[in-house]
Symmetry: C2
Subunit: 311 residues, 2 copies
Amino acid sequence: MKNIAIIGAGLIGRSWAIVFARAGYPVMLYDNFDGAVTKAVALISHGLAELKEYGLIDEDPLTILGRITPAQSLEEAVSSAFYVQENTSENIDMKKEVFKTLDNLAPEKCILASSTSTIQTSLFSEHLEGRHRCIVAHPVNPPHIAPIVEVSPAPWTSPEITKRTYDLHQLVGQAPIIVKKEVAGFILNRLQAALLREAWRLVDEDYVSVEDLDKTIKDGLGLRWAFMGPFETIDLNAPGGVADYAARFGDAYADMMSGINYPDWNEELVAKVESQRRKIMPFSEHPERESWRDQRLMALIAHKRNNKSHN
Amino acid sequence: MKNIAIIGAGLIGRSWAIVFARAGYPVMLYDNFDGAVTKAVALISHGLAELKEYGLIDEDPLTILGRITPAQSLEEAVSSAFYVQENTSENIDMKKEVFKTLDNLAPEKCILASSTSTIQTSLFSEHLEGRHRCIVAHPVNPPHIAPIVEVSPAPWTSPEITKRTYDLHQLVGQAPIIVKKEVAGFILNRLQAALLREAWRLVDEDYVSVEDLDKTIKDGLGLRWAFMGPFETIDLNAPGGVADYAARFGDAYADMMSGINYPDWNEELVAKVESQRRKIMPFSEHPERESWRDQRLMALIAHKRNNKSHN
């Protein structure tokens, strides 16, 4: 077993190819759509050039690109793989089918990981012979820029598989976490959902504009959360630490959130948010702003690395 | 009317003194505790030296410090003020008393703003003759590093006072927002409360460790939120923008959050979080880590400024 196999060469798949190739691993990249891998290689090349520009890779992009090999078949991609990262559509029947094939083709010791953001490991692996080696390794888009990886095993995933998956992501420079029990949305999207629910409500009830709400995060809390998590933030926000914080503010926070009815993201509310966003950023600028976001992320990651004490 | 008056020279008050003095305003600083202002001036001097080190001020720190004058009495501080920023204890009776005195002493056109994080404008201003000029301007600690200011008027606050408060904070380089209607926690702490509630629950139900939960933010979502808000994040996370995002994920997010019972931050849960935090950071390192946080914040602010296209 010698290579990483990336199955599905879309946005996430090609980003994963960069992650593993820049760490020195041989990567086999497969997509069952004709031409998808060729297109992906061009985009990977562009991505590597950007990383170089931001000082996020030391090697020549071509050296890294040289570690990525287009596979002619799924079998070729996985037959010598020790780790598979799957990135096909978010469709449960397709996931089941793909993982059945992967389980048949991949070497016995190979880990079978999915990038899925919505389908728990147990839902696509239950009836497989090799279900003990199936797992979710959920990234934030794009993983070659944002380091977090949510490692979420099924109840039957072998602890050794979970550990090897975690260790691999740590080794290649990502920031893995363990989701100890399966839960919809894993951790990151649950935290996002909790905050968004309140954000939509505050706009719905006209306490604040969309633009101003965004400012409270990007010019306020988000500045801390970019290098500390929410628990470290509150731990440092009370002289006696987190227990002191809970004693001081626990009741006030509970009161603040009690008895709230959250609105659906209904047509009227969506139109309200959409119209405010379109005034801030016309839709025609969407693709350009996506590139801007990734560049800002790269600059921020470079900034964090250059501040040695950022941990 | 010629100066800004800062009432209360603690952590927040002295940070506000820096904000207004570095923008060029004469600042009168008053505290009714003997020696508090002298101590504050020393700490302001230290704060200015740090800002200089991070390239966040161009002027000589002594020039800025020279704009800050200790006031011998509340009357001296406010008698020629055009803007008062009040930073006394979070006690409603004290706020009422202080604002009554401020309303008596300050020139007619002077804005009376409070830094309070928990007491709505209407609660301390209702019975004042000058209630139309009372307002909350709530910062994140410390305001000379974190730019957000939540401007929250009472129903009777004059729109002109709200506008002048907003404009002043914009002018001095802060990032003001308008809280259109009074609401407990304003906007920022409500968003924090919503996220924290889910964070505590996920730890309580043992889905994730405190350390791993923090990683999902600092190595994941927090990276985006440091330069985009939650609405811009989702607007860019669907090809068709925020309405497309709502159509794709609205139901899943609603399902994810439905029927949840949030735990109190009870003794057992607090002990669990506290013990995990103390393993990550012994309590003895708390003061040092607070300084680290402020240095990281300054470095991040400098980083954002140096990326011209950061808005």
